[in-house]
Subunit: 632 residues, 2 copies
């Protein structure tokens, strides 16, 4: 495997300086290591390539490699280094332990890149490069999602407008216009709607007036529309807006809003789809709201399932990049972890597992703590993919464990309390209740759990020993200290060896937390119990929605909880391992095309804002060299 | 030069069927014909490549090829085939006349592709392929513009929000936060604002309280904001909206709206820029509105000029594609032809002129009739590029000339009147007044004018002879019949020969219609006279704006008239060559970063809508072959 010797420096320089200090290999070199030839991918410049889905078909008969998922304990707002650990582990496996390995990661939103958080390519000596290409347009997938999402949004409002201003026959005549010989015909997508309406006639002229009305008039209830517009920018002023105030829109104003693009259902579809034809069907059956009589209205009803697929046809191919040590990375999809399942794509993982083959490793990240990330990875992503991980990693930091043990509040942008920078074994031990519950919950899926302690400079040996003991006591397969941020892959070699053993010793089948054929409420309650809740409380709105989705035939879908990532409970300040609380369900929504129901536990913001001094103040281009400066 | 023998069929099949019947050459083959090696471009899949700006620097000393601009007579709403003629002429020059040739074209908006108009890759046997890639995301330039435009929009509203909720010192402390040692510093972009404010101090702590206020408080007047959000979708319900209605935005609602992305000033910047450093400056000096005391507020004042450049750094490289006959095409930029100048980019033309070299040809299109397209090409684009065309083509159709001669109304989607499908030499002759004025106006720039009659099946020899006579009488260098739609390059060989002669016999320097150092009104009046107007009438709003831009120091910019393309005058139904009318100026706006002032003659829609049955109904993906169906 192509690899590159890293020259590490101490103290660790800024991320962008490390990223810029390494000249990436041409991506065709990385592809060659995976036995891909130029027919298998499309180049996007010199350092990115889209790997074509056909690669999977070609390797279908090959045995998969090991499948490893990286989750975490309940994080602080500063993050515990899951992406960095994912990348560092792969650098260890590929560049030091001589394994075939592919990292599969989410594509980050550009919102945070220019807002508060900065980039998402890992950190220190464990990064995906080129970092600017990773954090910016990449190969245009999020832009394609934005375009597709907003074409559907425009189609909804415009359809209501045209239905309000035209009689049934005029509408029908425009939908099925006569050709030069005066003949009318239904086209492909219209037959989908006819089928849904149980109309088996094939010629427009055979429809009865009642059938014409049913076919041509979607009769969308404006108040039922759940489809919002999206933009990949932190634009808080678009959270709630009124549209249609122009004179030509004849007073058909409506309150709606924008989400950040990664919160689009189309992103979740991209992440969960398994093939082009599957994507076509999922996009077509996305529900945008109801008719006034309560029937779900889909993208196909609006005539758009095909066009949306065309807009997404290149986005379905994952993007190949590389780590600082020259190991391959597939970047693909990045559904919002709060209202969607927060995992990278199924197709990237499936292709990667074939590419590494038996004895190789695919390491993927599941966003946030195991209550959010790993739970959805298992019950939603693996359910749709049919894949089973052998090993789950739980990334822990002394900092976060101290917080769970009762340490003072940790706030982004504020200096850390002394408790976090000096030895306090008692706080660490107390906080391990959080780690223990994450281990138990994750083990229950039938995987071996390896705890990775992501070392900070101030962590002491006694603190680290306390975590290892607690992890093993809670049933972890192993617990390992990692220094990949400071040392690159070399700092995660022990973790790599532990992961290898965990994979080789995995024997159990995947056990889901709940079956699909129970009611929506029973599924919600099974997940709530795993959080430590003693019960679930539903608002009237939630009850109404559950009844509606059940009536509409969607109760067989898996559940994607929209809950704070900062606690097992709904209360972000309840650290450690809270129990006995009642989990409130405020509302219940559906991403029917993507394939899940998402109950809202509290209010989830789906459009971030910009601070007074956003990251963009420091970002500029060196116009002499073409290099990006100031990206963090 | 690589070329491909076309097998033409009669009657001419649908555009998508012709496009799909040809397997494109790998784009590296096309590049090789232009003596480009793989270091000169970045591949985007197999059939597109971005040619790097550095190619121009490398060839700087080489002599340019001939420069040909394709304009038209005043069009019917059906279009007269300017793109098709541009492509057909290049196929003739490259595949039949053995010339080095590059076509430079605009990137189309995705709005019309899914709305009414369909694609913009030419038509019949004169097309750019692959047609779906040309009409859809291409290489992401428009998406980059959307992202940059909307980041700036979000920054404007959020800055007003933060200024409204913070005192001056708090604002200043957040803009220049202390580092770990408690030290504050200005960063690069802040020094731009300090310079603008004539503050020469370099340390934050040295600023007086008054200077802190001037620096930190932009004090944007919400009513003065001209910067709108954009989306590359026909979404009429976004034409006029109210933003900021969420509870966290504290009642700071504001009326604004979305334009289609190609109407963004950033698109005009991309089209008119000449280098990365020039683009950095133009983006930074874009004016988004005024402070309450009337000073223009720029993207750099908001801290964004650098980040916008980073978002646009790949977009500045033109995209190489190919025609049906294997000749090279550079697709780059596509500013809205109504409120901007409607021409493809300067950098693509400059690179192309070096690539073809002496004796070679670069053929570019200027949107709409010569009053709109060619006038802006000469007075804005050529003024900024320093380039001079040797030949201007005016595309004419018998159909449009009959309309100008008094024929009945031509409406898109309605059957043509019999006058247009049967011989009527009288109507044609009468209509040639329109052609004659376009010839005279175009000749005045010092170029040789060749009239291309784009032949339709129903045109008769007598009608065509009438046009040729009128064209020569009006001073055209030549007038030639073309059948490239039906026959590909072979059908434009005569045109190619005429263009070659026109170029070889060009002797005059470029003469602009107006100098830059006269007043805004004098420039407007010079253009109005070329339309045939006897005078200009300004609204109070226009007067106010002219006064403001003059006071702000922007009166030296060229003028970009926003006028209907359907008449020389402001009245779309005044066909032929109207004169003696008074041109009303409703409002005057500025694209200061792009570098022009645009007077509004009447109301220009900057956001199209969708019809009852948009094009998207027929667009689908064949999920077996991955091929796009139904694109027109």
């Amino acid at each position: 495997m192509t690899s590159r010797k890293l020259q590490v420096v101490s103290p660790v320089p800024a991320d962008i300086d490390i990223a810029n200090s390494v000249v990436p290999l041409h991506i065709s070199e990385i592809a060659k290591d995976l036995n891909l030839n130029p027919d298998h991918y499309d180049l996007y410049g010199k350092y990115k390539a889209k790997v074509l889905l056909s690669v999977f078909d070609e390797l279908k008969e090959r045995q998969d490699g090991y499948y490893v998922v990286v989750g975490g304990i309940t994080p602080t707002p500063l993050g515990e280094g899951k992406s960095t650990t994912t990348v560092g582990l792969c650098q260890a496996l590929g560049a030091f332990l001589d394994k075939k390995v592919v990292t599969t990661l989410r594509q980050p939103s550009q919102g945070p890149t220019f807002g508060i958080k900065g980039g998402a390519a890992g950190g220190g000596y464990s990064q995906v490069i080129p970092m600017d290409e990773f954090n910016l347009h990449l190969t245009g997938d999020i832009h394609a999602i934005t375009a597709a999402n907003n074409l559907l949004a425009a189609a909804i409002d415009t359809r209501i407008f045209h239905e309000n201003t035209q009689k049934d026959t005029a509408l029908f005549n425009r939908l099925c216009p006569p050709d030069k010989e005066g003949k009318r015909a239904f086209n492909d997508i219209m037959f989908r709607r006819l089928k849904k309406l149980n109309i088996t006639k094939t010629k427009p002229e055979d429809l009865t007036p009642e059938e014409v009305t049913k076919f041509a008039r979607l009769d969308i209830d404006p108040d039922s529309i759940t489809w919002r517009r999206v933009m990949d920018v932190n634009d808080r002023f678009l959270r709630k807006i009124t549209v249609g105030q122009g004179p030509d829109e004849k007073g058909m104003v409506r309150e709606t809003g924008f989400d950040i693009s990664v919160a689009s259902e189309i992103m979740a579809v991209l992440a969960l789809t398994t093939s082009l034809s599957d994507m076509r069907e999922r996009l077509g059956k996305m529900v945008i709201g109801n008719s006034k009589s309560g029937d779900p209205i889909t993208a196909d009803d609006l005539g758009l399932g095909g066009a949306l697929t065309v807009l997404m046809k290149d986005a379905i191919n994952p993007t190949l990049m590389q780590t600082l040590e020259g190991t391959p990375v597939l970047v693909h999809a990045g559904p919002f972890a709060n209202i969607a399942h927060g995992n990278s794509s199924i197709v990237a993982d499936k292709i990667a597992l074939k590419l590494v083959g038996p004895g190789g490793y695919v390491v993927t990240e599941a966003g946030f703590g195991s209550d959010i990330g790993t739970e959805k990875f298992m019950n939603i992503k693996c359910r749709y993919s049919g894949l089973k991980p052998q090993c789950a990693i739980i990334v822990a930091t002394i900092r976060a464990l101290k917080m769970h043990g009762g340490g003072p509040l940790v706030t982004a942008g504020k200096p850390l309390d002394r408790a976090y920078t000096t030895e306090n074994v008692g706080l660490v031990e107390a906080g391990c209740v959080n780690l223990a519950r994450h281990i138990e919950n994750t083990k229950a899926y039938g995987v071996n759990v390896v705890v990775a302690v992501n070392k900070f400079a101030t962590d002491t040996d006694a603190e680290i020993a306390a975590v290892k003991n607690a992890a093993l006591a809670a049933g972890a397969f192993d617990a390992v200290l990692c220094t990949h941020h400071a040392h690159g892959g070399k700092g995660a070699v022990d973790l790599g060896i532990a992961v290898q053993k965990a994979c080789e010793n995995a024997t159990q089948p995947l056990k889901f937390l709940y079956p699909l054929d129970i009611s929506i409420k029973e599924k919600i309650e099974a997940i709530a119990r795993s959080y430590g809740a003693s019960g679930v409380e539903y608002s009237d709105q939630a009850e109404k929605q559950i009844e509606m989705y059940t009536k509409q035939g969607f109760s067989g879908l898996p559940i994607c909880m929209a809950k704070t990532q900062y606690s097992f409970s709904d209360n972000a300040s309840a650290k450690g391992a809270p129990s006995g609380f009642v989990l409130p369900i405020r509302d219940v929504r559906g991403s029917i095309g993507a394939g899940f129901i998402y109950p809202l536990v509290g209010t989830m913001s789906t459009m971030p804002g910009l601070p007074t001094r956003p990251c963009f103040y420091d970002i500029d281009l060196d116009t002499e060299t073409g290099r990006v400066k100031g990206l963090s």
